[in-house]
Amino acid sequence: MTLTSKPADAEPTAVGGPGATDVERAQKRGPGRDPDVVGLGRGRASLFVAPALVLVGVFLVFPALWTLYLGLLDYSLTGASAQSPTFIGAQNYTDALSDPAFTKALYLTLLYVGFSAVIGQNILGFLLAWYFRTAPRAVRTTLNVLVLLAWILPGSVVAFLWQALLDRRDGILNTVLQTTGVAWTNDHPMAVIVIFNIWRGAAFSMLLYAAALNTVPTSHLEVARMAGARPWQQLRDVVLPTVRRHVLTNTLLITLWTFNDFTPFLLTGGGPNHESETLPVYIYSTAILHGDLGYGSAISLLLLLANLVIAVFYIRLLRGGDDGSLKAQQRAERKARRAERAVAT
């Protein structure tokens, strides 16, 4: 997996480039090896990186910082404050924190993320990946295609498919369940968007866990089986410890994506009566629909902060839980690499 764990690894096995200067440079920088075999040099390398950095800086970093500033203003798209935004300090933030609409949106977002991503997609994705290891080929292919389709179809299409599925009069769900005239999006909006998101996103977890399960040595499983471990015991004692990092990475990613997911809007429009208005939908309706840019920015920043807290929390878990054996292994690798370098020079 591309995302799992890549601190400066993948070092070259061949140490030192051709030409003495490269070797010298590598030595001067101490532990930093020099893989710059083409001889780009730092100057040209910076030129290569610059365009991407500029674009990211302008369209990603700068807006994030600007959100911070805008949140301190009384600024609307229309009305008097549109002409001359006034500085009102932290008032937008205190307003937001005491605004029942905001706290409700935050609460709904947490429900949405918790049930649909952390529990739903995670567990369903894992079970699918686990089942696919031993499933008959036909079953596996069919289910795999369906799950993947749910994931790769464009959001607008998928949202409309669900509207058709849940329609009160003609919806296929009412036909299948023999429940006539149940307006699902109206009566159970939160349940609908939670189940929708499980359906939509299970594929990613499934793919990631399928890759992760491949890394579990079959010999370990065999030993466990010989020792008389039941399937769930194998899962708990052999598989889960091995794929722990994958679980955390996966949970981090799907949590962040679900937190910022705008698709509920296409399904329920945040309604009825704000009952499925998650934070992204709430920001959209305050800032863009009602034109209250200052207040909308303040909420955006609070959303960003929530994301950051989650990310840091997961990364802590990821770092903190490394068992000693892994660290020892890394130490040994580093030592071997050092020795190799010493020999080469």
Partner: protein
């Protein structure tokens, strides 16, 4: 199978059979759960009386004729191609340059920078930065212009693209470049004749990934483009309603199908050619 029998001492035959039945019931329910919403997309475009109902009452291609006669169909798909293609090309070029340099030249703080950007991109691309981006494009006079949307989308996709592509470049052995250097090739020549062909598969994958992301993106063009002539398919699909707010099923069902096909085809292409291991690293 003796081992299998020996290892489950507590379970009787009945228990095992019940377990199997439970498993297959679960699998059947799951299949229905995943298939049910897709049924509409498979049937309704060919129905002679399209509605929310997902049945094929009579086969007809009349809906497609209506779709292709609609004046919005082709322009919106063309807009989608323009947005997705433009972003994908920008992403490929910029990400290839950056990831190659970051992979081969040791820049201080490189990994921290990459992680920070990646984290930021997964956080910011959504709704959180909508307000400042909207305002910024307004100031830059890029609002309601497709070029602005391309820039915004590219900025959002780049960190993940660089991350994926750098992983790919890291995995390419340096010996090719080394031997070219030994034989006296200049950096420019090495890049053009050795490096570019080597990282082309990675660039293709990242390009398709970017294409699919932009193709399905609803929010950014929805917020930044107000002129209906410039909106891509994702947004236009939501305008196929009649005056009474009833969806025009003939148009929506066929449009949904036509609009989905490229994504599925591209996905299959990448999956067959390069496998998931690299492709699916990041989505969102």
């Amino acid at each position: 199978m003796t081992a299998a029998v020996r290892t489950v001492p507590g379970r009787t035959i009945v228990g095992r059979v019940l377990g199997r039945i439970g498993l297959y019931t679960g699998i059947c329910l799951l299949t229905v759960f995943f298939a049910l919403p897709l049924l509409w997309l498979a049937l309704t475009p060919f129905s002679d009386n399209p509605s929310y109902r997902a049945t094929l009452s009579g086969f007809s291609l009349e809906n497609f004729r209506k779709l292709f006669n609609n004046p919005q169909t082709w322009p919106s798909l063309r807009n989608s191609i323009y947005l997705a293609g433009g972003s994908a090309i920008l992403v490929i070029v910029l990400a290839a340059l950056a990831s190659y340099a970051l992979s081969r030249v040791r820049v201080p703080g490189r990994d921290q920078l990459l992680y920070a950007l990646l984290l930021l991109s997964s956080i910011v691309t959504g709704t959180a930065a909508m307000v400042p981006i909207y305002l910024m494009l307004y100031q830059l006079n890029l609002l309601d212009r497709q070029f602005g949307v391309v820039l915004v989308l590219t900025g959002g996709l780049l960190p993940a693209a660089v991350f994926m592509l750098k992983d790919f470049v890291d995995s390419i052995p340096r010996s090719y470049e080394e031997s070219a250097r030994v034989f006296g090739a200049k950096p420019g020549q090495i890049l053009r004749h050795i490096v570019l062909p080597l990282i082309r598969p990675g660039m293709a994958t990242v390009g398709v990934w970017a294409l699919v992301q932009v193709w399905g993106n609803f929010l950014v063009p929805y917020v930044l483009l107000s002129n209906p002539d410039k909106q891509p398919a994702a947004v236009v699909m939501y305008t196929f309603y009649d005056a009474g707010g009833q969806p025009n099923f003939a148009l929506i069902s066929t449009f949904a199908l036509v609009y989905s096909v490229p994504v599925v085809v591209l996905y299959l292409f990448v999956n067959r050619r390069y496998g998931f291991a690299f492709q699916g690293g990041i989505k969102g």
